[in-house]
Structure formats: C-alpha cells, structure tokens
C-alpha cells in the first residue's frame, strides 16, 4: 500500500464518530491538564488508564495520545499568562512568553505557540508515517539478542538524557526492573517475592505503581510548596500576528520542528528535551541574543513547536520497535500490553488500523487543538483560577476509584498508596519517576530476551557482539554512556536543563 492509501485507511478509522469523540476528549483533557499547573500528562494518563481498558484498543490509544500532545498546547497558555509552566516542556516558554504577555502581546504569543505547534504536529505525524514503516521493516528480522541490545540502548539513552545525576537514574531504572520481576517466573513457574499473596502472582500491576509514583507523589509535592498569589494576566489582547512577527518566527518554527522531530525519536527523548534544546538553539543562531528573556517571539515559537514535534515522533520507537522512549510511552506500552497487543514491528502488519488510525487521529487532533486553544482561550483563562485545594481531592478520588476498578481489588489501592510513599522518597533522593517506570515495563521483557539469547548461545555472552545489529546497538550504548561521563559533556548536560 502506498502512503496515501495507508493514510486514507487511517482516516477511515480515525473519523468514525466514536474515535472522533475520544480524540476530541483526549485533546480537550490534554489542554485542560496542560493549563492546570501541578497536573502533568504522565499523572493524568496514569490515572485515566483504568477507564480506557474497556474501550477498543485503537480508540483508547487515540485518546491517550491526544492527552499527551494536547498537553503541549495547554502548557504554553499557563507559561505565557502566569509565568508558571503547566508542563515541564513549557518551562522555557515562560522566559519569553511571559515577558511578551507583560508587554501586552499575550495574544501574539499564544497564537504563535498554537500555530507553531500545529505545524510541528502535522510534520511530526508525517515523520511517523514515513519513517515508521522503514524502521519496522528493519526491526522485523530482530530476535532476542537484538531486542535485548535495543532495550539496553533505550535504557542507557534514558539514563544519559535524564535530568540530574547518572547514578540516580541508573538506580531508578534498576529499582523499576526489580519491582517488575516480582511475580511468578514464567519460565520456571517459581513464585518470586510474592509472600504467598495470590494478588502478586501476576506481578505488581504497572497502573497502581504509576498512579502512586506519579499521581500521589505529585499531589504531595505540590501541596508542600508554599503557593504565593499568582498574578494572572487575563488581558489576552489581539490574537493576530503582524507581518513582522511572522517574519521573525517562521524560521524558529521550522528549526524547532526539526530539532523536536529528531530528539523525539531518540530513546530517552521527548517533549521536554526538545523544547530546551530548541531554546538553546534559537539563542545561539539569533543575531541579537540579548532580546531573549525580554519577549523574543522566537523564544516562544521554537520551543513550543519543538515540544509538540517531539511529542508526536516519540511514538516512533514504541510503535515500530516496541521500545518506549520516555515515561509516557512506557505507560502507553503497558496499556497496549493490557489490551493484548505486543508493541513491536509486527503491529504495523497485524494491526495496521492501529498504526495508521493513530497517525490520522494526530492530524485531526492537532487541528482540533488550534480550535480549542485559540478561539476558546477565555475559558482556559478562567480555569487558571481554580485553586489547587479544590483540585487535589478530586484527583485523589479519581486515583482511588480508578485503581480499584482495574480488578475490583482493594489490594491494588494499597499498592498505590505504598508506591506513593516509595515514589516520594525517590523524588526527594533525586531519583526520577520516568526511568523507574521504564525499568518496570522493560524489566520482564529484558529478562525474557536475555534468557532466550543465552539459551540459544549455550550461555556464551559473545552472542551479543557477534551478531552485527546487536553489536552496533550495544556499541552505540557504550559510546553514549562514555560520552555522558566525560566531564565537559556532563557540564553541558547540566546546562541544557538550566532555565536560562
């Protein structure tokens, strides 16, 4: 099938009334959580997961994806109007977006953020459509050694690109893998760390863990920060762009889209990295870097395009290789597995409607988002006034009911509470939740592939270096890691995540 035919088939899936409805629901929810500070896409997706398991897999994936890229749109609104990033990926948008708002150009900033995101989203979706099948074809010949090597590469990239210390990121991944191995060992049938609890025989569910580590921890951390009075600039002003704005911004949009697409594909990448890298790039190529931080439109256009482009293309490794590139993709991977779909290169041939339907829904969803965000901006501005003391008990109840309805099990509510405490300790000791979640999802898969690879090679570990593809993947992983521990690079790493 040609690209056009595949895309048309995708649209016939995405344009059914129920899929359109859930796409709209997803992007609206995404915008909502993007606008509300203190509620991120990872937490939202984890707390909505239980309710999507009853849906058709394609429909649920369309909605969950919409939440992720929708949040990239909404996050800019908060950043621009109240100088508070609604999402981590909008942190850099605060720098120039809020300054623009103070100069009375909030409308301009919001428009360029939305239009840049739209352009980037469309390009990103086409990048998936073009490169997805190529990568999947390449990966179809993979067997256990290659998969193991690929997962090692994914984890190393996640370690290198994580914020903060490498050692803490490794610790987070390893703890995740350990928790992931709890339950009955599928090969030997031996129960591991189950303490005789039948609820643990199938392992600890990733949904209650994710809800604890992201949902509950986020509430606790948000509440302990003293909240000063936020000044909302509700004067949005004119939404139209002047010719001068367009002339300044369009190159930034193009560059942001490019860098976002690229960084999104990388394992360990995603929206946050894309926006930071784009801001750094814009400042470097600008003829007058002094304008940055004082309301430069490029400082909004670039990062906002980049985060949306990266949000789209980070689906590529998941859909084609079965490797989640960040915490959100790990959640979606878990959701697919619960739905009985093993993410990997086979998805494209066995479930083409899922792949192409999702891409078509992204194109639709990005268009919907511009409509939701620009003409209806007034509604979102009003939502900024909802105080967190109203919001958090609501989030908690949704978490509790959601986790209970998974299996009508009280046990999972207790697991969630336990991992809330555990996740809080992790957060305070500098271990991030995202690498932990990656380890949790990949741990059992890596064990299986490692076992199979070593079984075929009669215990000879050289199988990983004598097979060319796995050798190259592992070599990249080693180089990447070596590169990250070089002092000058680790300094650069720290700088990329600095706010100015």
């Amino acid at each position: 099938m040609t690209l056009v035919e595949s895309l048309l088939a995708g649209f016939s899936v995405a344009a059914t009334p129920s899929n359109l409805l859930f796409c709209l629901l997803g992007v609206t929810l995404g915008t909502l959580i993007g606008v509300l500070p203190g509620l991120g896409p990872t937490a939202t997706i984890s707390l909505l997961l239980p309710f999507t398991f009853g849906l058709d897999p394609v429909t649920s994936l369309i909605m969950l994806a919409g939440i992720y890229y929708g949040a990239q749109y909404g996050g800019s609104t908060t950043a621009i109007l109240i100088n508070l990033p609604g999402e981590a990926s909008s942190v850099v948008t605060c720098l120039d977006g809020y300054q623009m708002a103070r100069q009375g150009r909030a409308g301009t900033a919001l428009t360029i953020a939305a239009l840049g995101s739209l352009f980037a989203g469309i390009v990103g979706s086409f990048v998936i459509a073009l490169w997805g099948p190529v990568l999947a074809d390449f990966a179809r010949g993979f067997s256990s050694p290659e998969y193991f090597a690929l997962m090692v590469l994914g984890l190393v990239a996640a370690i290198v690109l994580a914020q903060g210390s490498l050692l803490n990121a490794i610790a987070a991944i390893m703890m995740g893998m350990f928790i992931g191995l709890i339950g009955i060992d599928r090969t030997s049938g031996v129960a591991r760390y189950t303490f005789g609890q039948p609820e643990l025989f199938d392992g600890i569910g990733f949904v209650p863990v994710a809800m604890g580590v992201f949902g509950l921890v986020e509430i606790a951390v948000n509440l302990e920060q003293t909240q000063g009075k936020r000044q909302v600039l509700s004067q949005v002003g004119r939404l139209w762009l002047t010719r001068d704005d367009v002339a300044k911004a369009y190159r930034a949009v193009l560059r942001g889209t490019g860098i976002g697409c690229l960084l999104g594909i990388l394992p360990g990448g995603g929206a946050v990295l894309g926006s930071f890298a784009s801001y750094a790039l814009e400042r470097r190529v600008s003829r007058d870097p002094a304008r940055f931080g004082h309301g430069a439109i490029e400082g909004v256009a670039g990062p906002e395009s980049a985060n949306n482009a990266a949000a789209q293309t980070s689906f590529i490794p998941l859909l084609t290789l079965g490797i989640p590139s960040n915490g959100i993709m790990a959640l979606l991977m878990g959701a697919m597995m619960v739905q009985g779909i093993a993410p990997g290169p086979e998805v494209m041939t066995s479930r083409p409607e899922l792949f192409w339907g999702l891409i078509a829904s992204m194109l639709i969803g990005n268009l919907l988002l511009v409509v939701i965000n620009l003409p209806m901006i007034g509604i979102w501005v009003k939502l900024l006034h909802v105080p967190y003391r109203i919001l958090f008990p609501t989030i908690l109840i949704v978490c509790c009911v959601g986790v209970y309805t998974l299996n009508n099990s009280i046990f999972e509510v207790v697991v969630m509470a336990g991992f809330g405490v555990f996740g809080y300790a992790m957060r305070k000791s500098g271990c991030e939740g995202a690498p932990f979640l990656l380890g949790l999802i990949l741990g059992p898969l890596m064990e299986e592939h490692l076992r199979r690879a070593m079984l075929i090679s009669f215990g000879d570990p050289s199988v990983f270096v004598t097979r060319p593809v796995s050798a190259v993947l592992l070599l990249i992983a080693v180089l990447l890691f070596a590169f990250a521990v070089i002092p000058s690079v680790s300094l650069m790493r720290a700088k990329t995540f600095e706010e100015d």
Partner: protein, 154 residues
C-alpha cells in the same frame, strides 16, 4: 545563604543510598531461596538477585559520593500532605467494600482536604459532597463500573 557550617555529608545522596540499599538488601533477603541457575539456563533468581547486588553496589557508590562530592541539603520536605494523602488512600481501600462508594468518597475527600491547611470547614464539606455525587454519577452511572454504592446493596 545560611551562615551554618556546611554539612559533613550530602543528605540527598544519603537518602538515595538508604533507599536503594534497602531495596537491594530486601531483594537478597527475601529472594534467598531463589535458584541462580547458570547463564545458559537462568534460574528464577538470576536477574532479581543480580539486580539486588547491583543495587547494593549503587548504594555504596552513592554513600561514597555523599562524603566526597558536594554537600547538599535535603530538598524542602513537609510530610503532612504525604501522610494525609496516603492515609486517605488507605482509608478508601478500607471503607469502600464496607460502606459503599457514596459514603466512602465523602469521608475520604474530607480527610484528604486536610492535606492542605487553607480551606474552611464549609468548603471541605461542600467539596466532599460534590465529589461523592459526581463520582457516583460518572463512575457508576455513566461508566458502568461495578462498584457497590451503599453497604446494604450487593
């Protein structure tokens, strides 16, 4: 910022070392009955025990860094919200199948609201009642989840 002498250790690394080390030690202790097997036929303990040892190693490295590296303090912590949120989730688990969704949601929401100090009693009660009604409508009537609503219903 502060006039105090710098701490002798990096508190954040100490906390990380304790957490990671505890997971590693628990892995070894509770997994002591698991067979290692060998590389060509890995036993159920091969990876979990291997990871446990790795975690202990990481914990030791973190501990070493706490002494040798820069000395940071722990990030600001206030355990009240965490404690209240955790208690509220556990209470939800304890009450749900005994009292039913309507009452449980109300009680849990009232308790949870105390994780934040700045709210009036009236507001807490109104919010809890709203959440109780909303969760019944959304989860049970709209989404059709099989949750008991009252304790006398099956």
């Amino acid at each position: 910022m502060t006039s105090k002498a710098p701490a002798a250790v990096d508190r954040q690394d100490v906390l990380a070392a304790l957490l990671v080390g505890a997971v590693g030690l628990a892995g070894l202790w509770f997994g002591r009955g698991l067979a290692w097997g060998q590389a060509s036929a890995m036993g159920p303990g091969y990876l979990p025990l291997g990871i446990s040892w790795l975690l202990i190693t990481i914990a030791l490295l973190l501990g070493a860094r706490a002494y040798l590296g820069p000395k940071r303090k722990l990030p600001a912590m206030n355990l009240r919200p965490l404690a209240v949120i955790t208690a509220a989730s556990l209470l939800f688990g304890f009450l749900l199948e005994r009292l039913g969704l309507v009452c449980t949601t109300f009680v849990v929401a009232v308790l949870a609201s105390f994780a934040s100090a700045d709210s009036s009693l009236r507001e807490r009660l109104v919010l809890a009642a709203t959440l109780s009604i909303a969760s019944t409508v959304v989860f049970v009537f709209l989404l059709g989840q099989p949750i008991r609503l009252w304790w006398w219903l099956e």
